[in-house]
Amino acid sequence: MRKSPMKKDKNRNNIMAKDPILAKHNKTEKLIKSKNIKDQLFYLFGFLILVAASFILFALISDLFIRGASRLNFDFLTHFPSRKPEAAGILSAWVGSLAVMLVTSSVSLVLGVMTGIYLEEYAPKNIFTFLIELAIVNMAGIPSITFGLMALGIFVYQFNFGQSILTAGLTLGLLVLPIIIVTTREALKSIPNHLREAAYSLGASKYQIVRDHLLPYSSGGILTGMILALSRAVGETAPLITIGALTFIAFLPTPPIQSTPPFVSFEWLWDGFTVLPIQMFNWVSRPQEEFHINAAATGAILLMLTLILNAGAIWLRYKFRKRYHW
């Protein structure tokens, strides 16, 4: 079935040629030939489409890097945005992205893994479980900007979290929750049932099985999902604009480690912020060419970040697939 089409059809041709009755039917042979050619043309066509797609991808990436090359240096990373394009940098943007990702990953990891375990191991078949599953499927299809509107109404105006890192992290955390839930469930599903039964027969309780067996075995899958979720969240722009993230920030959030007791501070959660994609959007939407260069450089960094995260996820998936042989 999966042999290459040409080989198979050649075989068929040979049989046809040897058979004296069929060989007379020139028409049939011609038909077969034209079918073979069409098969191969499609093969070529599909290949060309893939080549074209890769070419477009390549054009996109190289355009970003070539245009942004002059700004891709250390100074760019250590300067605040500025009205002068050549002096502007992305310090506040990448620190902001980092802080928001920290909140996002903790929120989505905790909630996502717990929900995944509940649905896969605990949930009874009832209306609640059905509703939760329906909600998850729908969450993945809701436009991301709607999450922003929800966060603006609830986190900003109801809970008074303000337009802060905390609000942004929570918003993106809920946005990527379905990714983590789905990968957690997949990972749990791939653990064979006899393992659970063996543990039960030794007197383990459900929680002990989850804690000592299921979680360690599925950690690779969960980690892969986490990375994919982060790669999605780090580039997400629309919901953060909607909650009112500022586009011009020339200060850093409060450092998490203080010199005075209690030494650890969570003040930064309440600080204003900007993130890489918003900074890029801000520069793209300005008319001056010089700002477009800054946008290209930011885009190049953002793209590298997502590509590295994705490559990491693919590598992890590959590595963990080889690790356990049930």
Binding site: F47, L64, N138, L174, S285, L303, N310
Partner: protein, 308 residues
């Protein structure tokens, strides 16, 4: 366990068992609470969209909202007809689908029927990259790369236009379409293909005349779900398609989409409770209703495709 039969179990064990049982039920309860967060999120999205939109409909009648041909909620002489935003949204969406659907189906057919599985494992992650690129980067690409290139062929094309936004959006959606279609094609049983081969059909004929029709519900699902994805796409259109709300069905114009409008207002200053603030929730509610209906239909067809 405290009934008459459990005389074997010592007092210590009974206590321990009770402890374990209590812990188990607590864990189950906490996990249940965590999973409620998803339900709560969807619920609060719906509630917030509706409650923040309701005041809007006290000042604007629903008929005006649905039939008026101008959308200028931030002007002094405000007009509240949603049609311009919907027309912009639909136009960018069909341009995107024009790109994404044919190429998505061809790539899916190619990957599922024509190519070795080992090669497929290499190509699929490559395709996934298209979906992983941040949309703001795509927006940059549409505005500063695709539009200038197109302007060489069509000099009268404006700097902001829905055409390049739609094209780039189409490229972004290709992997989504192709993976949905491929799943549907792969769930068509092997016997169907073999029967077709046995009747003398070529690979191409089998793919397009037998497997694809058999996977039709999967393809409808792909079509509907990717339309929904295109409707809700924000950054590409906000950057490249322009900010003028106008009724435009030609993609070679600038126009504003529902999502771009929300971005425009959010970037400015719309105080809580003002009509500008309410109007983004109205736009969001419109968008949400459109995508929700499409998603539900799409999931239905996808289920159908999987159950075959």
């Amino acid at each position: 366990m405290a009934n008459g039969n459990s005389s074997i179990i010592s007092g210590y064990d009974e206590k321990r068992l009770a402890h374990v049982k209590r812990r188990e039920s607590w864990v189950a309860f906490i996990l249940f609470l965590a999973s409620l967060s998803t339900l709560l999120t969807v619920f609060s999205i719906i509630v917030i969209l509706v409650t923040e939109s309701l005041p809007f409909f006290k000042t604007v009648s629903i008929i005006d909202f649905l039939t008026q041909k101008e959308w200028t909620p931030l002007f002094d002489q405000a007009q509240y007809g949603i049609l311009p935003l919907i027309s912009g949204t639909l136009t960018t969406t069909w341009v995107a689908m024009l790109i994404a659907l044919p190429s998505g189906i061809i790539i899916a057919a190619y990957l599922s029927e024509f190519i070795r599985p080992s090669l497929r494992e290499i190509i699929k992650p490559l395709l996934e990259i298209f979906a992983a690129i941040p949309t703001v980067v795509y927006g940059y690409f549409a505005l500063l790369f695709v539009t200038p290139v197109l302007q060489k062929f069509f000099p009268e094309l404006p700097g902001f236009n829905m055409f390049s936004a739609g094209i780039v959006m189409g490229f972004m959606i290709i992997p989504y379409v192709s993976s949905l279609v491929e799943d549907a094609m792969r769930s068509v049983s092997k016997e169907v293909r073999e029967a077709s081969f046995a009747l003398g059909a070529s690979k191409l004929e089998t793919t397009f005349k037998v497997v694809l029709p058999a996977a039709s519900s999967g393809i409808i699902a792909a079509l509907i779900l990717s339309i929904s994805r295109a409707l809700g796409e924000t950054m590409i259109v906000a950057i490249a398609a322009g900010m003028q709300p106008q009724i435009a069905f030609s993609p070679f114009q600038a126009a504003q989409t529902l999502t771009a409008f929300i971005v425009q207002v959010s970037l400015g200053d719309a105080p809580h409770g003002s009509i500008g603030y309410q109007s983004i929730y109205v736009a969001g509610l419109t968008l949400f209703c459109m995508t929700l209906i499409l998603n539900l239909i799409g999931f239905y067809f996808r289920k159908q495709a999987q159950s075959k």
